[in-house]
C-alpha cells in the first residue's frame, strides 16, 4: 500500500463563490488541470467539444457538464470535485453565481470549511460578490481567500492590487470577517495558481494552492458539550434502541444522560453498532450510533441528549439571523414548518428587526414587513412548542435551523439569542399572502377611513361618492354603512349604550377584515363616543391596518333641517329613544386626522379634500391608474 496517499485525512471542503462571469469555473478547471486531477478522456472530450463547435478551449468545460451550461456558459447547480495537492485531499464545491441559483450556492456552501471568493480584477466587487460574502459570514465560514482573477487584464499592476485589496478588506470587515488572503492571479494563463508568477514579483504572499494548504481544518467538536439528537427509535427485536449522531461532545456507557426539552433522565446501558463486535464503550462527536437505556422511558425523535451540567437552551422565543430562499416572501405571523436538529414544529415570525440589502449591505429603511427571496434579515420568531438548541456561536449543529413552506425549504438561519418567553403581541397571521403582495396585485394599499359625525352631517353622501371615485381611479373601495350593518350583522342589537358599543366593535372588526383582504374601507357610522372610536382604531392598528378618523362636522340645526332619513322627525315623536345630538351626547373627536365642515363647504370641495387625503396614503404609483372605462369618471367634473 502506498504511503504517500493522504487518503486517511479529512477532506478539506472549499466553496468557490463570486459574481457570475468573474471566472470561477475557469479557475477550478485550471486547478484541476494543473494538479493533474482530470481523467484523460474528460480532457479529450472537452477539447474535442471545443474543436467541433469551433470555440476556444475553456477550462470551465471540464466542470460544466450539463448541456445548458455549455451553451449558456453558466453553472446551474453545485458541482463537487476532488483533487489532491501537497498531502491534502480537497473537495471543491463550485457554487453558481447567478442570483436565481442562490439556493444552490447555499446548498453547496454549507458544507465548506473555507471559501475562495473569486473577483474579476478588471471589474471589481460585484453585487453577487457581496451577497455571497454575506452568506459565507452567515453560514459561519470564517476562512476566506480572495482570488483576484483576470489580473492580466489590469497588467499585473501593484497599484490595482492596492485598490482592490482595500475594497476587499472593507467588504469583509463590514461582515466581521478576517481578510488575510488576497491573491492576484490569472486562471486563464495559469499565473500564481501553483507557481509564483513572474509578472507578480512585487506580490509578497503565497500562490493560491499553497495558501489553501495553509488553512486550518476545523477542530473536531469532541471537547464541546454533548449534543446527541435522536433521529429514530428502533424496535427491531427485544431491545429498544435510540439512534442518531453525536453532533458534539462524547457519550459513554453507564453515564447519566438528560433528554431536552422533556427533561427526562436515564443511564446509558449499552452502545450497539454493527457488526456487534465493533460496539464501543465511548462514542465521539461525528459518529452515528445507537444506544440502549437502563430503564425504558418514553422518548422520541427530536429530543436532544445532553449532560445535566452542560444543558442546551430550552425556549420558544428566539432572535435569529435568517436568509430567505422561498419564491413567496416570509410573512409576519404566518406558520412555517420549523426544523432544528431532528426537532420539527411550527414557527411564526413575530418581528422583523432588520432586512439587509445585499447590494449595499445596509439596512433597508423603513424596516419592511416581509423578507423577500434572496434577502437576509434579523427576526424574532416563536415556536409552537419549546425547542432545545444552542446559540450558533457555541454549537453550530444545534444552533441552526430551517423554515419550510409547503414541504420545501424556504429559508435557513442561525440562533443569536434565546429570549425570555414574555407575551409579545402575536400577529395572528393565517394568510400566506402578505399585505405587500395584495397591494402589488391591486395596485394600492389598504386602509380603514372611519367617518364619524351626526346623522345628516353628510357621511353617507360623501362616502358613497368617494367609493365611486376611488373605484374609477383603480382603487378598490367599499363602504360599510351604519344602516346596512344594522340590517344584517347587527340585526340582534338594540340602541342602548352596550349594544351601540358592540355595534361599533363589529363594524371595526369587519372593516379590519376587509382591509386585510386588500380593500380601502370607508366606514360611515355616527359612532358618538370617543372611547368606541379609539377602540376601533386599536382593533385595526394592532393588526397593522392603516386607520384614519375623519370628522364629518355639521351643526345639529343643519342636520335636523336636512334629516335625510327622517330620524330627527321620528325622534321628536318619541319613536327613537337616545337619539344622538338630541337626548344622547355626541363627543366630537379631539384629535381627528381630517376635519370636514359640510355646512360651510360644498360636497365637491369636501370630496377633493377627502381624495387629497386618502389617495396619497393608498396609492403605490400613479402608473397603476387603470382606465376601467365602465362609466364616465364622476370625478372628472370635480
Amino acid at each position: 500500500m502506498n504511503n504517500h496517499l493522504p487518503l486517511g485525512t479529512k477532506t478539506f471542503n472549499i466553496v468557490f463563490a463570486g459574481h457570475v462571469d468573474h471566472g470561477k469555473s475557469t479557475l477550478i478547471g485550471r486547478i484541476l488541470w494543473d494538479t493533474d486531477s482530470v481523467p484523460k478522456e474528460k480532457k479529450e472530450a472537452a477539447i474535442a467539444y471545443c474543436q467541433k463547435n469551433r470555440i476556444e478551449f475553456e477550462y470551465a468545460f471540464l466542470l460544466d457538464s450539463l448541456l445548458e451550461e455549455r451553451t449558456q456558459n453558466i453553472t446551474i447547480d453545485v458541482t463537487e470535485v476532488n483533487f489532491f495537492y501537497g498531502q491534502r485531499r480537497f473537495r471543491i464545491i463550485d457554487a453558481p453565481g447567478h442570483l436565481e441559483f442562490l439556493k444552490n450556492m447555499i446548498s453547496g456552501a454549507t458544507k465548506a470549511d473555507a471559501a475562495v471568493l473569486v473577483i474579476d480584477s478588471s471589474v471589481g466587487i460585484g453585487e453577487q460578490t457581496k451577497r455571497h460574502a454575506m452568506l459565507l459570514a452567515l453560514l459561519g465560514i470564517k476562512q476566506i481567500v480572495v482570488a483576484l482573477n483576470k489580473f492580466d487584464l489590469v497588467h499585473y499592476s501593484p497599484q490595482a492590487y492596492k485598490i482592490l485589496h482595500n475594497e476587499c478588506t472593507q467588504l469583509l470587515e463590514k461582515l466581521e470577517l478576517p481578510c488575510n488572503f488576497v491573491i492576484p492571479l490569472s486562471a486563464k494563463s495559469g499565473e500564481n495558481i501553483i507557481e509564483r508568477s513572474m509578472h507578480l514579483s512585487w506580490y509578497e504572499g503565497k500562490p493560491l494552492l499553497e495558501t489553501l494548504l495553509g488553512l486550518d481544518i476545523s477542530a473536531s467538536p469532541e471537547n464541546s458539550p454533548l449534543r446527541f439528537p435522536i433521529q429514530d427509535v428502533f424496535r427491531f427485536d427485544e431491545r429498544r434502541l435510540l439512534a442518531g449522531r453525536i453532533e458534539s461532545g462524547k457519550l459513554q456507557c453507564g453515564e447519566l444522560i438528560t433528554f431536552y426539552p422533556s427533561g427526562k433522565k436515564s443511564k446509558v446501558k449499552a452502545i450497539h453498532h454493527w457488526p456487534p463486535e465493533s460496539s464501543p464503550q465511548v462514542v465521539l462527536a461525528g459518529k452515528s450510533t445507537a444506544i440502549q437505556l437502563e430503564e425504558e422511558i418514553f422518548v422520541e425523535r427530536g429530543e436532544i441528549i445532553a449532560h445535566e451540567n452542560t444543558p442546551p437552551i430550552v425556549a420558544t422565543d428566539f432572535f435569529a439571523r435568517i436568509f430567505w430562499l422561498g419564491d413567496q416572501p416570509l410573512v409576519l405571523g404566518a406558520p412555517y414548518t420549523f426544523r432544528l436538529a431532528t426537532q420539527q414544529g411550527i414557527a411564526r415570525v413575530l418581528q422583523i428587526q432588520r432586512v439587509i440589502d445585499a447590494m449595499t449591505l445596509e439596512d433597508l429603511q423603513p424596516v419592511p414587513m416581509e423578507v423577500k427571496k434572496n434577502e437576509t434579515a434579523e427576526v424574532i420568531f416563536r415556536t409552537s412548542a419549546p425547542i432545545a438548541c444552542d446559540l450558533f456561536e457555541n454549537v453550530q449543529t444545534t444552533g441552526r435551523f430551517v423554515f419550510a413552506d409547503q414541504n420545501r425549504i424556504a429559508g435557513g438561519g442561525i440562533i443569536l439569542k434565546a429570549l425570555p418567553s414574555k407575551p409579545v403581541h402575536e400577529i395572528k397571521g393565517r394568510s400566506r399572502i402578505s399585505a405587500a403582495q395584495r397591494a402589488k396585485f391591486l395596485g394600492h394599499r389598504s386602509g380603514v377611513f372611519w367617518m364619524t359625525g351626526l346623522s345628516g352631517s353628510g357621511k353617507t353622501t360623501l362616502s358613497n361618492r368617494l367609493e365611486q371615485i376611488l373605484f374609477h381611479r383603480g382603487i378598490l373601495a367599499y363602504v360599510i354603512d351604519g344602516d346596512e350593518l344594522r340590517g344584517g350583522l347587527s340585526k340582534d342589537l338594540g340602541f342602548d349604550a352596550q349594544d351601540r358599543k358592540e355595534n361599533i366593535r363589529r363594524a371595526a372588526e369587519t372593516a379590519k377584515t376587509l382591509a386585510k383582504s386588500g380593500l380601502v374601507v370607508i366606514v360611515a357610522l355616527i359612532s358618538p363616543f370617543e372611547e368606541d372610536r379609539k377602540n376601533a382604531r386599536s382593533i385595526c392598528e394592532k393588526d397593522g391596518i392603516l386607520f384614519k378618523e375623519i370628522y364629518v362636522d355639521a351643526p345639529i340645526e343643519i342636520c335636523k333641517s336636512r334629516d335625510p332619513k327622517f330620524l330627527y322627525l321620528k325622534a321628536s315623536k318619541g319613536e327613537i329613544p337616545k337619539m344622538t345630538g338630541l337626548d344622547s351626547p355626541y363627543e366630537p373627536p379631539s384629535n381627528c386626522d381630517l376635519h370636514l365642515l359640510t355646512a360651510q363647504e360644498s360636497i365637491e370641495t369636501c370630496l377633493e379634500k377627502l381624495l387629497d387625503f386618502i389617495v396619497p396614503l393608498v396609492r403605490i404609483s400613479p402608473d397603476k391608474e387603470r382606465e376601467l372605462g365602465l362609466l364616465e369618471d364622476p370625478a372628472a367634473e370635480i
Partner: protein
C-alpha cells in the same frame, strides 16, 4: 481513517432520515461494489437489519458471476429481494443486437424501474449513485424528488443544507435517497478493504484485464489492469487518468447521453 469515518457516519445518518421520512421505502441493488457498500451501510444504520426490500432491476444481460453473487448475498445478508425484469420490452424484441445502448438501457433499466414503482408504490428509493461518477450526478442532492414520470428537474432542485432534510414528495412521484453521494471510487475501495465487504470477483484482474464498473455484459468493457487485490486496485486508482465509467457504453453513446438518460429517470 477519519475521512472514511465521516463518510460512513453521514451515510448512516441519511439512511436513518430516509427510514423515518418514508412509509414505503426500498433500496436498489445491482450487486456491484457501490451497491454492496450501500448494503453494508444499511446493516450498520439499522443495527444489523435491512428493514426494507432490496430491488434488483434485471436486464437479462447480467454477467453470470453477478447472478451467482446475487443468490449468495440474499442468503448471507437475509434481506427481502425483489427481482424486476421489463418482460414487455424483451417480448417486443429490444436487445443489444438490434438497438443502440441508450435505448436498451432506457427500456431495460429505467422503464423496468418505472414498472416496479407502479407495482409497489414506493415513495422513497435508496440508490448508490456517487457524485464523482459523472458530471451530471455531481449535481445531485441526498434527497432528490422525482415526479410521476420519474423525471429529474435538475434545473430547479429544492435547496438542501445542514442535513435538515425535508422529504418533498411530488404528486404521485417518489424521492431518491442517495447516501453514497459524497463517496469517491477510491473511498469505496478503501472502505471495502477496511470493512472486508464481500464483492463479485469481476473487479479483480484476470489475464491482464479487470472491470472497473459493471453493467450489462454486451456494453461493459474491462480495462487493462494487473490489479488482483484490493490494495493493488487502490494503488492503480491513485495513478489512473481514465475515468471510472469509461467502459460503460451507454454513457458515451452520444454527447450528453447521461444527462438525457437521467432526466428521464435513469440513475
Amino acid at each position: 481513517m477519519q475521512n472514511l469515518d465521516n463518510l460512513e457516519s453521514q451515510s448512516i445518518f441519511i439512511f436513518r432520515e430516509a427510514r423515518y421520512a418514508f412509509k414505503n421505502l426500498a433500496m436498489l441493488w445491482s450487486m456491484g461494489k457501490d451497491s454492496n457498500v450501500l448494503l453494508w451501510l444499511a446493516k450498520k444504520a439499522f443495527c444489523g437489519h435491512i428493514p426494507f426490500p432490496v430491488i434488483h432491476i434485471d436486464t437479462t444481460y447480467e454477467f453470470p458471476q453477478m447472478l451467482e453473487f446475487r443468490s449468495w448475498a440474499k442468503e448471507y445478508y437475509g434481506f427481502e429481494l425483489i427481482v424486476k425484469i421489463n418482460q414487455e420490452a424483451i417480448e417486443r424484441g429490444i436487445s443489444y443486437k438490434t438497438h443502440d445502448p441508450v435505448t436498451v438501457t432506457h427500456e431495460l433499466k429505467t422503464v423496468a424501474l418505472k414498472q416496479a414503482l407502479e407495482e409497489y408504490k414506493w415513495d422513497g428509493l435508496i440508490t448508490g449513485i456517487r457524485r464523482d461518477e459523472d458530471g451530471v450526478r455531481a449535481k445531485e442532492r441526498y434527497f432528490s424528488p422525482r415526479n410521476q414520470s420519474m423525471e429529474w428537474e435538475y434545473k430547479n432542485q429544492p435547496p438542501e443544507f445542514w442535513n435538515l432534510f425535508l422529504a418533498t414528495l411530488p404528486n404521485n412521484g417518489h424521492v431518491r435517497i442517495q447516501p453514497l453521494l459524497d463517496w469517491t471510487e477510491l473511498d469505496i475501495w478503501l472502505y471495502i478493504k477496511r470493512e472486508n465487504i464481500p464483492i463479485p470477483s469481476l473487479y479483480f484482474s484476470k489475464n491482464g484485464k479487470r472491470y472497473r464498473s459493471l453493467g450489462c455484459w454486451p456494453i461493459t468493457h474491462p480495462v487493462p489492469s494487473n490489479a488482483s487485490t484490493i490494495d493493488e486496485i487502490i494503488e492503480e486508482l491513485y495513478h489512473t487518468k481514465t475515468s471510472e465509467r469509461a467502459g460503460r457504453a451507454q454513457d458515451h453513446a452520444e454527447p450528453n447521453a447521461m444527462q438525457k438518460l437521467r432526466a428521464k429517470g435513469f440513475l
